[in-house]
Symmetry: C2
Subunit: 334 residues, 2 copies
């Protein structure tokens, strides 16, 4: 699949690091997965084998390799310098603690090639915070995946003010090449984009709960049985463009003022915590007790996998119809 | 399917009125669909027959009746008084104009039974505005469906301050009985719940666009390839409860402050209009020109139907596994 195999150095062999290892090895790149915890590393290959077999059983395999061929492309190493040496792309995936990340990034900075792409998979730290003191900071960006990456393809690419345009462009190409859907931010912003939108949903949900408009179950249902289905296929502007009354400009003309007045009247979402957080916890625990959470996560992943497969199949059908000239062309990237 | 067939009077035979007619006739209720436009009424039966056949072909039929049996349960009438007489549930589905709706509701009010449920399918008017001067205002609520109702099951039930608790309870039971997912608001609020959350998403999307963080395509992709898949199955609080690091209380403890600071720094979403709205329109038109919108709506409905079927199949499998005792019980209503 790869035009030319690249060397990918992944620092940190937790869930995110392992997902990257899978994605890049599917596309026939050479992966070196590094961790300073030998116990953690010891379990990696069996886990990846299991994940590949699960993906295969769900029809979600990527690339042309058999699982065992693919696993041969992944080297494990406790030695950061050896792992980073000669790497085209370095992905830091250690725990979400600023000082821990800075320390690892500094160690990479000292040994990396001048022309490598240098990245962190952080979800909440800004690329400028992480890279300001690095020698290779112009090579640095955040590559933030959605969890789990195989089942939700969005990846945010977030530049620091000093990140080179070439690094952004090459990162985007690489992400597309391994089958992800890159979202390139023009500048950094706390929470990036996915989490900002997710927090807007959570913030309004909190406000509705706090103001006694409805209960936790009602809010959850409103999203999964109402808004979620459309957002599985369309973004917010596309939803507006296809609304019952016309197209996006018409929609904003008709509803813009209503939306504006509503937003102005919303008041602050407020800090999510205290008694209300305890109440939410109780309601959710009644449905899913803490010891059932791993099982419910699998429940969720089974559904995300089925949806990913469904989208893949629908897109394939659509492309085939387009080739036969039977259909209006798809918008880009769907 | 119905324990006891009810008479449902639907005033207005546009898309929403027709969807209600389908849903209630699937469940073997008697429907009277009323419209003062004979041309509009003339096309109803053929359209409903087509919709039923499409639903059947997608495995989304509800109830036990054959299409032709079902269509026999639907009477068309230009006469409002005749339609409303003896009805157990009255659903006003005329155009979204306050004065038009008030006039129709007044006409219904004069002839309806004392113990009927009296509703409007409005998406943007408050039940108090619509019903304050009605004699039967204690029987009145808003029943707001999601579009298209057969494919997205959420229905908002919104009381005015004077709506009787019994009306709310019976409306909820009826909605469940016809296969919808009722969401009962405890009090009215502009935009209700679905649109408030939808506008929170749109508002944050607008802000990101306006502040130059990324482009229209990037925002759309972030939703459909990132957040949408999870929201197709889980609400915002459930997503937090199943997050990688633990459960909802833990999630809010870890991220609550970060989310709060981010929201405080967000600034106003602002009025969506002007040059930026024109720019958004241009981008969306380049992908989907105005004359392709009907075709793209069908593209969307095919996907919503496939997802609805997928969810139905996954839920059936899950229930069967539960009956065999092989799985942790599902949370309520999934």
């Amino acid at each position: 699949m790869a035009d030319k195999a690249k060397k990918i150095a992944i620092i940190g062999s937790g869930n995110i690091g392992r997902s990257w290892a899978l994605l890049f090895s599917c596309a026939e790149h050479l992966v070196c997965l590094c961790d300073n915890d030998p116990e953690q590393l010891a379990g990696v290959v069996d886990d990846l084998r299991g994940q590949l077999s699960l993906l295969k059983s769900r029809g979600l395999s990527r690339g042309h390799l058999e699982p065992e061929q693919q696993l041969k492309l992944i080297t494990l190493s406790p030695d950061l310098a050896q792992c980073v040496q000669g790497a085209d792309l370095i992905m830091e995936c250690v725990p979400e603690v600023l000082e821990v990340k800075r320390q690892v990034l500094k160690a990479v900075d000292d040994v990396m090639s001048r022309d490598a792409i240098f990245s962190s998979s952080t979800s909440s730290l800004l690329p400028s915070e992480l890279s300001e003191d690095l020698r290779h900071r112009d090579r640095f960006l955040v590559i933030h995946p959605t969890n789990p990456p195989f089942l939700a393809r969005a990846v945010e690419l977030v530049p620091a003010p000093w990140t080179s345009g070439d690094v952004m462009k090459r990162s985007r190409e690489l992400m597309k090449q391994v089958g992800q859907a890159p979202i390139t931010l023009k500048k950094e912003i706390p929470g990036f984009v996915l989490n900002r939108i997710q927090y807007a949903v959570l913030g309004e949900s909190w406000r509705l709960l706090r103001d006694g408009v409805l209960d936790v179950e009602g809010i959850n249902n409103a999203v999964w049985s109402g808004l979620g289905p459309r957002y599985a296929f369309l973004g917010p502007f596309e939803v507006g463009h296809l609304n019952a009354a016309g197209w996006i400009e018409n929609y904003l003309q008709r509803y813009g003022d209503f939306i504006y007045r509503m937003q102005a009247s919303m008041g602050e979402a407020g800090l999510m915590g205290g008694q209300l957080a305890e109440d939410v916890q109780k309601v959710l625990e009644a449905d899913t007790p803490l010891d059932h959470i791993p099982c419910r996560r699998r429940w969720k992943d089974v559904r995300l996998a089925a949806l990913a497969k469904l989208k893949q199949d629908l897109d394939t059908e659509e492309r085939e119809r387009n080739e036969e000239g039977k259909s209006v062309p798809l918008p880009s990237d769907h």
